[in-house]
Amino acid sequence: MAVIDTSTLLAPEPVIRPREASRRERWQRRLPLLPALIYIVIVTQIPFLVTLWYSFQNYFFDVPGGAHWAGLSNYKSVFTSAAFRSALWHSVIMTVTAVIVAMILGVAFALLLDRKFLGRGVVRTLIITPFLVMPAAAALVWAGPMLDPNFGLLNYLLQPFGVHHVAWLSTHALGSVIVVMIWQWTPFMMLIVLAGLQGQPADVLEAAKVDGAGALATFRELTFPFLRPYIELGILLGSIYLVNVFDQVRLMTNGGPGTATTNLPFYLYEQVNNAFDVGGAAAAGVITVILTIIVATFALRLFARVFQFEGASS
């Protein structure tokens, strides 16, 4: 059944020889790793070094003469830029809200689907579908057929509740983008939590039932602690993807109205594509990376913990 794999990181080297590995043996072990390692270093690390270099350069695509040294001026303008701060803030709001709400809904849906009922497989399939829709397609379909003020389905469905032709993308832009993020990522959270629920040992639940524990108490005292590593894993992985959300912002609101939905990815995209400011984008990128490293250090620690977690039951 579904269990978080505790062995992958905890297990000592599976087939390792007790005797000291010879030089030849060491290389024989290292060799298969090298192509992937070199590839990843080149493709992901070199652009970062180049970014670091450009962050000290004054370089605009549309200005002839190429790059020249600019010292810290790019950093100065990023730090004093209200646009950058607001983009950073929007990124935080979007990611945190979407991840938390998607997780709460994910847990609720997983609890629903953990019960036996007619057509459970079909319902499960229906709920995971939003995650499989191409994000660009989801964004455009929400922006048009779903949320349009004049013919959108949502306004029609909300009519009985006194909603009349609301232009969601102008009046509730940030909320609309977050709703689509939640819609796409709830299934992901649900799948992970559901896997956890189904790995929950039945005998413990049975014992709680015999002891006369109510459903709520059972959830709080038994199920939730058991699910914790799954929830942490879902939040962690969800954040990695959601912090980079771009498609929905670009295609639903184009960062607007004004800069109401401009998050960091969209801000950087605009710097390069509309302002042609490679140096400024690079400085903003370096700062983004530094912030990410701070967050990722915690995330990696959590990762190590989650992957080493031994089920509460054992």
Partner: protein, 285 residues
């Protein structure tokens, strides 16, 4: 959740109540499922509408279905779908070619610092690619890779490789050690061990790894939008191109969105089980 106290010794009415609670929650689940699926259903429904029936108030649920929008989509998607297929399949093959040996070196006969290696790979997944997009553009320009399908293959491979290594490794750890020892006793070298013992055992795992890579590569927009124009424009960009500056387009857009999404939806429906394992990078079996 129902907070019903359990009085299991009352037979008749209690059983009836249990039953109705069960049915009640089943209905709730169905309502939730349909509500969540509704936007997808609406997308598919709108795709079969004539343009004039797609932008009406109130929205129309009955109409005479037409394939006109799909015909329009299929007449224009040629280059886009070709680029998407090449970038997706190409990067997935490259991921497997690089990922299988790397996963082997981190599991079966692990290198000394295999834990550091694993975390290095996953840490690259946490660094936001958006942060380097400007310089990436300049690098692509100078290496003449801008607007080329090779660039997307290279970048999508780097994007999916860390995930694939973690995932493939989790499958390799499941290869029974007796099999590995037996092949070693037979005097099989590392390469024969790989081709004759490991690969046959993990091949279903490789399929689900490939599926996850296909999903992410097929859906990718940010890099494609920034680094390609026409020679390598992919399906997500085809969607954008189906939104014109003026005129009615909602039905056409819905058809394009349906066509672009259907492959991944079908793959995901069929491979629901491996989806969980893949998305959790092998943490959940």
């Amino acid at each position: 959740m129902s907070a019903l106290p359990l009085r299991s010794r009352e037979p008749g009415p209690q059983r009836f109540r249990d039953m109705s609670v069960k049915v009640g929650w089943g209905i709730v689940a169905w309502v939730v499922g349909i509500a969540f699926f509704l936007p997808v259903l609406w997308m598919v429904l709108t795709a079969f509408k004539p343009e004039s029936a797609a932008e009406t108030w109130p929205p129309r649920f009955t109409f005479s279905p037409t394939l006109a929008q799909f015909r329009l989509v299929f007449s224009g998607w040629g280059p886009y779908v070709t680029h998407s297929l090449i970038a997706t399949v190409g990067s997935t093959i490259l991921v497997l070619l690089l990922g299988v040996p790397a996963a082997y070196a981190l599991s079966v006969h692990p290198v000394k610092h295999w834990r550091d290696g694993l975390f290095f790979f996953i840490s690259t997944k946490m660094l936001p690619i958006v942060a380097v997009i400007g310089p990436l553009y300049v690098i692509a320009l100078k290496t003449h890779l801008l607007d080329s399908i090779w660039l997307l293959i290279i970048l999508y491979t780097a994007m999916n490789l860390p995930l694939a290594i973690w995932l493939i490794r989790s499958f390799m750890l499941e290869v029974p050690s007796e099999l590995l020892e037996a092949s070693e006793l037979d005097g099989a070298g590392r390469i024969r061990e790989m081709t004759e013992v490991i690969l046959p055992v993990i091949s279903p795992g490789l399929v689900s790894t490939a599926l996850i890579c296909v999903i992410f590569a097929w859906n990718e927009l940010f890099l494609a939008l920034n680094l390609t124009v026409t020679n390598a424009a992919t399906m997500p960009m085809f969607l954008i191109s189906s939104v014109p500056q003026e005129g009615l387009y909602i039905a056409h857009l819905s058809a394009a969105a349906t066509v672009a999404s259907v492959p991944v939806i079908l793959v995901g429906w069929i491979a629901q089980r491996s989806l969980v394992r893949g998305l959790s990078m092998g943490a959940i079996k």
